[in-house]
Every structure is written in structure tokens, then in C-alpha cells.
Symmetry: D2
Subunit: 110 residues, 4 copies
Amino acid sequence: MTNETINQILKFRDDREWKQFHNPKDLAISISLEAAELLEVFQWSGSDTSYEDKQEKIKEELADVINYCVLMADACGLDIDTIVTEKIKKNNEKYPVEKARGKRDKYTKL
Amino acid sequence: MTNETINQILKFRDDREWKQFHNPKDLAISISLEAAELLEVFQWSGSDTSYEDKQEKIKEELADVINYCVLMADACGLDIDTIVTEKIKKNNEKYPVEKARGKRDKYTKL
Amino acid sequence: MTNETINQILKFRDDREWKQFHNPKDLAISISLEAAELLEVFQWSGSDTSYEDKQEKIKEELADVINYCVLMADACGLDIDTIVTEKIKKNNEKYPVEKARGKRDKYTKL
Amino acid sequence: MTNETINQILKFRDDREWKQFHNPKDLAISISLEAAELLEVFQWSGSDTSYEDKQEKIKEELADVINYCVLMADACGLDIDTIVTEKIKKNNEKYPVEKARGKRDKYTKL
């Protein structure tokens, strides 16, 4: 995601003077709500896990989740590249390649 | 988010041969689950909406949500910059600056 | 659900003096978190939608969701039978039998 | 919740021949989605955790969550009173009264 995209997100917020509502608790709620809207695309799909016929909706709902993640990072003074890189380091320890390869188990079960 | 960060996320998945499990429906579920873990940081905080004492946990859980968003975009053949930019355009129409400024209402109520 | 079960839930709360934390916003968050734990049972199950091998976990997580629903109803002064019966009436109008039979569509698409 | 209420929920489903769609995975997704709609009532409420002005919406959304919990229990062959009572027993062990009284901590921190 380019800085230009991130700046578009922040400009959208600032043009509407919405920063005043963007406390971290309500932003965390908003990320959950948008994640639910993304999940709704797959409601009642049963064993069909494909996405091709759902792509237009996925695009919009996934964009909404990312949008709020950027706003949450901004509200909490966090840099996305830094926190993601740090988390991958931790996940590398939780899920060593030799143990986790080809397995869908949670790290507590490896 | 730099391409280097995105590549780290995809490399982590590929090193573990996890792409086989990453169908869009289960990825959408995973985004919801990580969003819930982020939200859990604020459970029982009542009217306290601050983040300072919770920042270490927020870092990790927000990184997890973003991580799965990148994996979802990859699984569905979507470019993050493109879908976010397109969504901002739509949101600009749903929330015109003059109507939405300083208001926390949903677009259906503006 | 018998009144005895409901009273067990409320007694558990009162024995621990937890009513002071049970504001409606945090209870709504808690219902979401428990719903996510229930959903986690099905993470990475792909096209397998069965429950037999997951029943022990489903029991516990579904019980947690119901538990918090009872606590939410109590905190907001709501009677469960009344609100469920009223909602079924509304759903009967949104989903008329003739239109909805055998279809998984949302009411907006019927 | 009386058996009459539960039977209303099941009759609503059967009148529409929806049991065919009610696999446990999609029901778990549905419980999450309805929990999100309940949570949405509190989005952007900031430090205001009251419910009085939101009660009409809470009624409907909480009823929807309970509705799907009943359908999930039925689909998985579970009796609600049994699973809730069993879970309270477990919670009694996880949260002993002497340790948990007046504290909002998770059992892992008590």
C-alpha cells in the first residue's frame, strides 16, 4: 500500500472532521463490523469456498477493513510496516517452518 | 505498507506451504477472528477509550488483521491500492463533505 | 431455557460482584468475542461443514454466547421470550413463506 | 426461554424449508454476523455506554443472536439448558468466587 493510498484515507477522514470520533475502542469495533460484512459475503455458501462470483463485494468489504486498519494505526501512533514486520518475527518463533509445514494446526498444538 | 512487507507475509505462508488452506471463506473467517482479538483488548474498559496502556497488544493484534487482509487480497487476486482507492471514490459519494462534516451518522441517515 | 438456568447465570455474576462491569457496550463486545470463539472451531475446515468431531468445543462456545445474551438481556431490562417472539413476527413479514421457501436469499433480494 | 418460543423459531425455519442451508459452519458465521449487528448499535458511542436510547435496536439484534443460537443448538443436537449448566460448572472452577470477586481480569491472570 503506497503512502499516497494511506494519505487518501486520512484526507477522507480529515475533510469530514471525523478524527474526533476515532477513539481506539470504537475503531476496534469498526474493524470488527467491517470484517463481519466481508464474512457475510460467504454466509450460506456451505461447502462452496470459491470467490469468483463474489469478487465485487469482496473488493469493497476488504477495502473497508483495510481502511479502518489504517485509521486505527494512525489513531494509535503506529507504523504499519513496523508492526507487521515485528509480528512476522514473533510468528516465525511460534510457527517454526519444520513443525508447521503443511499443517493447519494452531501453534499450541504443534 | 511496502512491497517488502507484503512479500514477507507471502513468504511466511509459502515457507509453510499454507496456501492450500487459504480459501477465501476461511480467510474471511480468520480476518473476523483476528478483529475479535483486537477488540478483546478493549473488553471491560467501560467508558475508558484510551490506548496508551494497551499499545503492545494493539500492535500485535492489528498486525494480525492486516496480515490476513494481505493474504485475502492475494488469494482473491486483488491489488490493495486499487481496491482501497476505488472504495474511497464510492465513499466520497456516500458521504459528501458538506453533509457528513462533523457528524457520526451512517450515510443512510445523512 | 428454564428460569433455573437463567438464575444460575445471574447468580454466577452476582457471586463475583461483576454487575458493575456489565455495561451494555462491553456486553455487546463480549457477545461478539464469544461468537468469534465459536466460529474459530470452524477455521480452516474448508468445505467440511460437519460438526460431529467438533461437538465438545461447540458446546462450550455456544454456551458462552448464550450466557452473555442472558446477561445482556438482564442488563438492558429485556425479557428474552418477548423480544424473540416480537422479532419472529417482524421476520414473518420480511420473509413471507411463499417468497422465501427453499431460498437462501436475503429479504432485500426476495 | 420457553419451549413455545423455541418451537416458534424452529417452525419459522421449517415453514421456509431452510434446514437444508443450516450447516453448523454457516450457522456459526450467522451468529457472528448478528453479534456484529448488535455491536453496531454502540459504534461511535465513545465513552457513552448507556442503552436507554438504543433499546429498540438492541431488542431486535439481541433477538437475532438468540434466534441463531437456538438454530445452532438444534442443528448440532444440543440441549441449551444442559450445555449452559455444564459451562457454568467449568466457569466456577476457572473463576473461583474468592479470587474473582470484584475483578474484571481474565482467568489466566487471576
